[in-house]
């Protein structure tokens, strides 16, 4: 091939670049080490969440009891209205997408070295994340206290519903909570100017984690709440 695309660093891209990167007897990934490590961590986390969701698939297929109707269990009425199906979950989904957008912009302003905008966008992202966890806490307490759902049984149908629900949404909520702490830590350091010399890759790395949390929710929303 004569017209191989060449990027700014002078290395080839595409398949030729892939071969080059793996055969050059030096560093394979041309990204900051922290970013490569975050990606490796996220790949391993993908395995954990997929194992949970596959376990859910298996127990839901094999139970002989009817599976509870999610859209009615997660319905909520406002000011005495008729219950609106899945409304809280829909709001949580939109909040998480909004936070993903503010995070993507924080990464962008980080590379522009606009510390104030980066800081506030990260704080906004963390605030959306915290409100997500708050709504999840509300949802859990409603299910536990009002409906009597337990990990070992529930009044609606198949007992596995409770175990799957608490395990999967709990583990995801834990990820969101850790993400909020992580984002606030990085945001504070951005504002103090800790990354002026090191560069702002750390904002992108934190962003990768946050987008991953949103990504996992996309699958939970589809498989656990909608299907």
């Amino acid at each position: 091939m004569s017209n191989v695309a060449v990027n700014q660093t002078g290395a080839q891209s595409g398949v030729n670049g892939l071969v080059d990167d793996w055969t050059s007897d030096k560093q394979t990934y041309h990204v900051p080490w922290g970013k490569a490590m975050m990606w490796i961590f996220l790949v391993s986390d993908t395995f954990i969440f997929t194992c949970f969701l596959t376990g859910y698939l298996n127990v839901r297929m094999t139970t002989t009891e009817p599976w509870p109707v999610q859209s009615e269990i997660f319905a909520l009425s406002f000011f005495g209205s008729d219950p609106i199906p899945l409304i809280l979950i829909a709001i949580m989904t939109f909040i998480l997408i909004t936070s993903s957008g503010t995070m993507a912009m924080a990464v962008n302003f980080g590379y522009r070295r606009d510390k104030i905008k980066t800081f506030w966008l990260m704080v906004a992202t963390a605030a959306f994340g915290a409100s997500f966890v708050g709504m999840q806490a509300f949802e859990w307490s409603k299910l536990i206290l009002d409906e009597g759902v337990r990990p070992w049984g529930n009044p609606f149908g198949a007992a596995q519903f409770g175990s799957v629900f608490f395990m999967i949404t709990g583990f995801h909520g834990l990820h969101v909570s850790i993400g909020v702490i992580y984002l606030l830590t990085v945001a504070t350091k951005v504002r103090k100017g800790h990354y002026d010399k090191k560069g702002y890759e750390i904002v992108e790395i934190a962003g990768l984690y946050w987008h991953f949390v949103d990504l996992v929710w996309v699958f939970i929303f589809a498989f656990f709440y909608l299907l």
Partner: protein, 131 residues
């Protein structure tokens, strides 16, 4: 396209993807809201899910701009999970078949809903009488 300066792209593409993600989420919610059932429900929900996941990974996580060596490291290993999902689906199908055959089950059994249990007006009274 990734350079030592990191991933820098015009803000416009983030806004477009952001709006698109909102739209796709609204679509998946609409599937439930308008009570689409059966194969259509599965097809639509999974289609919107894959599109959303794809745009998040490609644009927000910058995978589309990364070098192929990193992209294959990210996307390669998780493909074996498809094998796990396939195996567990086959096994689950077999297990549920044997359970139905030897343990029996009530094909007319319906899961209860909160309105059945709390006796709210407009609930599924018929389902309550059956149980």
């Amino acid at each position: 396209m990734s350079s030592e300066a990191g991933q820098q792209h015009p803000l416009g593409i983030y806004y477009k993807i952001w709006v698109l993600l909102f739209f796709l989420s609204a679509c998946s919610y609409a599937v439930d809201f308008f009570n689409v059932q059966g194969g259509m429900r599965w097809g639509l929900v999974i289609l919107f899910m894959i599109l959303k996941a794809g745009f998040i990974v490609a644009i927000f996580m910058h995978a589309v701009w990364e070098r192929m060596a990193l992209v294959f490291t990210i996307l390669g290993p998780p493909t074996v999970l498809l094998l796990l999902i396939g195996f567990m689906a086959v096994e689950g199908n077999y297990a549920s078949g044997t359970r139905y055959q030897y343990m029996g089950h009530d094909p007319d059994a319906v899961a209860l809903t909160p309105s059945d249990l709390h006796g709210e007006a407009g609930g599924h009274e018929e389902a309550v009488e059956e149980h």
